[in-house]
């Protein structure tokens, strides 16, 4: 119950104009698709995997789910994973190794359906060196046993990659083991439930006054049996309460656990006294029931999101390995080979090699991509090393550019939307991402001293986030404890003078009745329900305290790029004479072959098209060209396209075009240009209007001011708009607001906001793909849910009010119970009934009120069942998430 199945990014439906859909991966097929056994495939890669699985007797893969496969984007190369054979790397990765057999847990983000689970657990059929494998679907992990003598870890990784499940390795993420703490929590709750049920069984005769028929020996036996069964519940199941209460007392802080521990001790002690004195069966039924409910409340709140990490530092964003040049080549002389196209760009010999590699890979990699390159672990990267960065790869350390030209996308670090063109010798900062062809760079600083790492040395990252002493519950429990102990002492003192025999009884009765079960249950259950409801809307909260902090927010700071704006099809405009349908199809087919973000956006804006492209060529930093249906098409920067086209057609253009303009030439004639703009997300206007009245708003952008006017109109005159903000500027801005006593919520994405997210009272990370990496934050919000922010804040406020109402109910109940107990009138029978009734009423009130509020606010639909089972995630189109990752949060970690 504590696991969450997350929905993957669902790609917009692509109309397969020609050729149908791939039998393996379901993507649209080209006009003349590769076919086998009457089944069509989108590429030879898919066909290869299909025939491989069939030969290995793994046909069932296709029966479990239609088109379950993952398109293999790039050739699987054993050499790419060579760094995994480094003993130092293996030490951090392997769960177990004895020389003969090793076990490793790999993160495989591509796992998405039942067929994946089945295939990966039948992996041993593909290679004799692989033993048992177990998949954890919620964590997207597979634990695989293998014999290192028969298959090396690098070969295992290559094999997984070749069938579409590319393992993901990142720095800083070491072994993620299921904590024994969770096992203990289950045992505690089970034992408490056992004690509760069985003691209740024995107490039933007393509730109805039937015990008299059995005589006093029955009462004695029931009493002692109850005490025996309650003992492990009090000592083991409730051990966390004792520990927290002791810790709280030593810090001289009256946390909620202090009155709970007092109450538990008082109930058990008075039960022992009663049983020993033959007065009654004690209160063990109420005691164990209370512990059981408290543990349930804790479990309810401790819902964790397996795939999400709220505490990532910069290391989590870096790949585990880089490609290093062994012998430095002369400057700018290395061949720049386009890595796009995956299997398209492979020769048939290489394709055969991939397949053969699955079975025959032993010691020698069959395919070595480029002579003189090696994959090394990032920890072994030294200053002065020359490394090769391919398209979309992240630069792990500050470096100098060796290749003649590069196009670096710093959106991840600075928020600047447009990639920066660099020339040889330029200084590149860590965190930049190469766009286009492969480049070669020389590192000038160690990884730990890079520009990115320096951001993490800020004070904001050292403070601990969760100071639970400030929580609403603890604020209430502080006075609650004082009042209860005061009343108990006063009652004891009063009866000491009037009737000393009643003194002890009234003292314990007050403690028993006032045991803050309602107080302890109201917050966990309400917040647990809120977290659960929001998770269904793809809004994930780090913990329950975030809700209280969200309710106190009065200032909201928004990041621009990626948060309010999105780089998608809406922002693509064509300037020039209208394109014909054929021309649109040609351009889209060409653009599809490049992984440059601009190409991808154009391809998506024009609609899917899969015409065969001949003589495809990508010139890094300039553009792409190819021949489609006999037409030569060029797509790229103005200078490059014009230089390759008929110059007479460049009619009357004044000045240089704005950044983000892509020119098109068909058969040597310039047809026009695509203007790529970041479009504001729909409904952002409404969101800002609804927030504007109640919160102080500010916009921080790392981008330049070219869109300032647009946002001034959107935000109105009161809001602060700041452009050209560095990550440190953003952090400082938040600090200044906080010094003025504002409670700040920062909404942002990417590493450039990491400092601000951490400094803010509530940091909201906006992600395009919830499984992708996001910076340290309190809330992870799916990008499409940004417009709901106002409602989420309202809901948080409502949740806090529900908890307060729960406290009032509990206070009234306590007033009633305590006054009777202090008067010395409380019968054990009444006490035994009142306690469970109050607990159950709080449970119903908290869960019911939170769900009802959510329905009323339209956050969940009225028709849906209260808690439907987690839906199976829709299959993520393998192509589209990577688009998001490059353009959007830029948080992909493709090692």
């Amino acid at each position: 119950m504590s696991q969450e199945v997350l929905e993957l990014q669902i790609p917009p439906a692509h109309a397969a104009r020609v050729g149908g859909r791939c039998f393996h991966c379901g993507e649209p097929c080209p006009a003349d698709p590769p076919a086998l056994d009457g089944k069509v495939f989108c590429c030879l890669g898919c066909q290869t995997v299909f025939s491989l699985l069939r030969e290995s007797g793994l046909d069932q893969f296709y029966q479990l789910q239609a088109a379950p496969g993952i398109r293999v984007r790039s050739a699987s190369v054993v050499a790419r994973w060579k760094f995994l054979d480094d003993p130092a790397v293996q030490e951090t990765l392997l769960d177990y190794a004895d020389g003969k057999q090793s076990r490793v847990t790999l993160r495989l983000p591509a796992i998405h359906c039942v067929a994946c689970v089945w295939l990966l657990e039948n992996l041993f059929k593909l290679h004799p060196g692989i033993g048992k494998s177990r998949v954890n679907f919620a964590r997207r992990e597979a634990a695989i046993a293998f014999a290192p003598e028969k298959i090396k870890l690098s070969e295992l990784a290559a094999l997984l990659a070749s069938i579409g499940y590319e393992p993901q390795f990142t720095m800083g993420e070491t072994k993620t083991k299921p904590s024994p703490l969770r096992k203990k929590a289950w045992l505690q709750i089970g034992l408490a439930g056992f004690g509760f049920g069985n003691i209740m069984l024995m107490s039933l005769p007393f509730y109805f006054g039937l015990d008299s028929a059995n005589g006093p020996w029955f009462r004695n036996m029931a009493g002692w049996l109850s005490l025996t069964m309650a003992l492990p519940v009090v000592t083991f199941s409730a051990s966390d309460f004792w520990r927290s209460a002791w810790a709280g007392l030593r810090r001289r802080a009256l946390t909620l656990e202090v009155p709970i521990a007092f109450g538990l001790a008082a109930v058990y002690a008075s039960s022992v006294v009663e049983v020993a004195a033959h007065r009654g069966p004690g209160y063990c039924d109420s005691l164990t029931g209370l512990i059981f409910f408290l543990l349930c409340g804790r479990l309810f709140q401790r819902k964790t999101y397996e795939r999400l990490a709220f505490d990532r530092d910069y290391k989590g964003f870096f790949p585990l390995s880089v490609v290093r040049k062994i012998t430095p080549a002369p400057v700018g002389s290395q061949s720049e080979k386009s890595t796009s196209g995956g299997f398209f760009s492979l020769s048939s010999g290489e394709r055969a090699g991939v397949r053969a590699g699955l079975f025959q890979a032993r010691n020698e990699p069959l395919i070595n991509p480029v002579q003189g390159e090696e994959c090394i672990a990032i920890s072994r990267l030294q200053t002065g090393d020359r490394i090769v960065l391919r398209n979309g790869e992240l630069l792990p350390a500050d470096a100098r550019l060796i290749s003649s030209a590069a196009c670096i996308d710093y959106s991840f670090v600075t928020g600047e939307a447009d990639p920066v063109e660099c020339r040889a010798g330029a200084h590149l900062y860590a965190g930049g991402r190469q766009v286009g062809g492969a480049i070669e760079v020389e590192t000038v600083k160690p990884v730990a001293h890079s520009y990115l790492a320096s951001l993490w040395n800020n004070e904001a990252f050292r403070k601990t986030r969760d100071n639970d002493l400030e929580s609403l519950t603890n604020r209430y429990s502080r006075w609650f404890t004082k009042v209860v102990i005061g009343v108990a002492l006063a009652a004891a003192a009063f009866w000491l003078f009037r009737n000393p025999s009643k003194s002890l009884q009234s003292f314990t009765s007050v403690l028993i009745v006032a045991c803050p079960c309602a107080l302890a249950l109201a917050a966990p259950l309400t917040y647990g329900t809120v977290q659960r409801l929001l998770a269904r809307l793809k809004i994930f909260l780090r913990n329950a305290l975030v809700i209280e902090r969200m309710a106190e927010i009065n200032t909201i700071v928004l990041d621009k790029t990626g948060t309010l704006t999105t780089a998608d099809a809406r922002g693509v405009q064509f300037e020039g004479n209208e394109l014909s349908d054929d021309e649109r199809e040609w351009i889209s087919s060409l653009a599809r072959h490049s992984t440059h973000p601009n190409s991808l956006r154009i391809s998506r804006a024009l609609g899917a098209a899969t015409l065969p492209v001949h003589e495809f060529e990508e010139t890094p930093g300039c553009g792409i060209q190819g021949e489609i249906a006999g037409n030569r098409i060029l797509l790229g920067s103005q200078g490059w396209v014009e230089g390759m086209s008929d110059p007479s057609d460049t009619t009357g253009r004044d000045g240089s075009p704005p950044a983000g303009t892509v020119f098109v030439s068909i058969n040597g004639t310039i047809r026009g240009s695509f203007l790529l703009q970041n479009s504001v997300r729909p409904e952002v206007g409404k969101l800002i209007a609804s927030l504007g009245g109640r919160y102080e708003l500010a916009l921080l952008s790392g981008d330049n001011e070219r869109e300032a006017a647009r946002f001034e109109a959107l935000f109105g005159p009161c809001a602060v708009l700041k452009f050209n903000q560095s990550p440190a500027d953003k952090l400082r801005f938040i600090q200044e607001l906080q010094q003025r006593g504002r409670k700040v919520m920062m909404v942002g994405d990417g590493l450039n906001d990491a400092g601000a997210l951490r400094q803010a009272d509530v940091g909201v990370a906006v992600v395009e793909d919830v499984g992708a990496f996001s910076p340290a934050s309190d809330v992870i919000l799916h990008a499409t849910e940004v417009p709901r922010l106002a409602k989420v804040l309202d809901f948080a406020g409502a949740a806090v009010r529900i908890v307060r109402a729960g406290f009032v109910v509990s206070a009234l109940y306590n007033l009633f119970g305590v006054s009777i107990a202090a008067a010395g009138l409380l019968q054990p029978m009444v006490c035994a009934v009142l306690m469970p009734v109050s607990s159950i009423s709080v449970v119903l009130f908290s869960c019911g009120a939170a769900t009802w509020r959510a329905r009323q606010m339209g956050l969940i639909s009225k028709t849906s069942a209260p808690l439907p089972p987690d839906p199976l995630p829709a299959k993520g189109g393998p192509g589209l998430p990577s688009v998001h990752l490059i353009v959007g949060t830029g948080a992909a970690a493709n090692p």
Partner: protein
Amino acid sequence: MSVVIILILAGLLVGLVFLGAFVWSARSGQYEDTTTPALRMLADDPPVKIDKTNITLK
């Protein structure tokens, strides 16, 4: 009234058996992953018992 004692003891025994079963299931990690088993059972034939010679390697 001795029948009550027998009943109580029998009831407790049944309870203890189930408690033991629960402790075993929690310890063997059945609560660690509650999603995958639900998917695993959808596949017709469970993974074939792996031939011991395949994993016990010389």
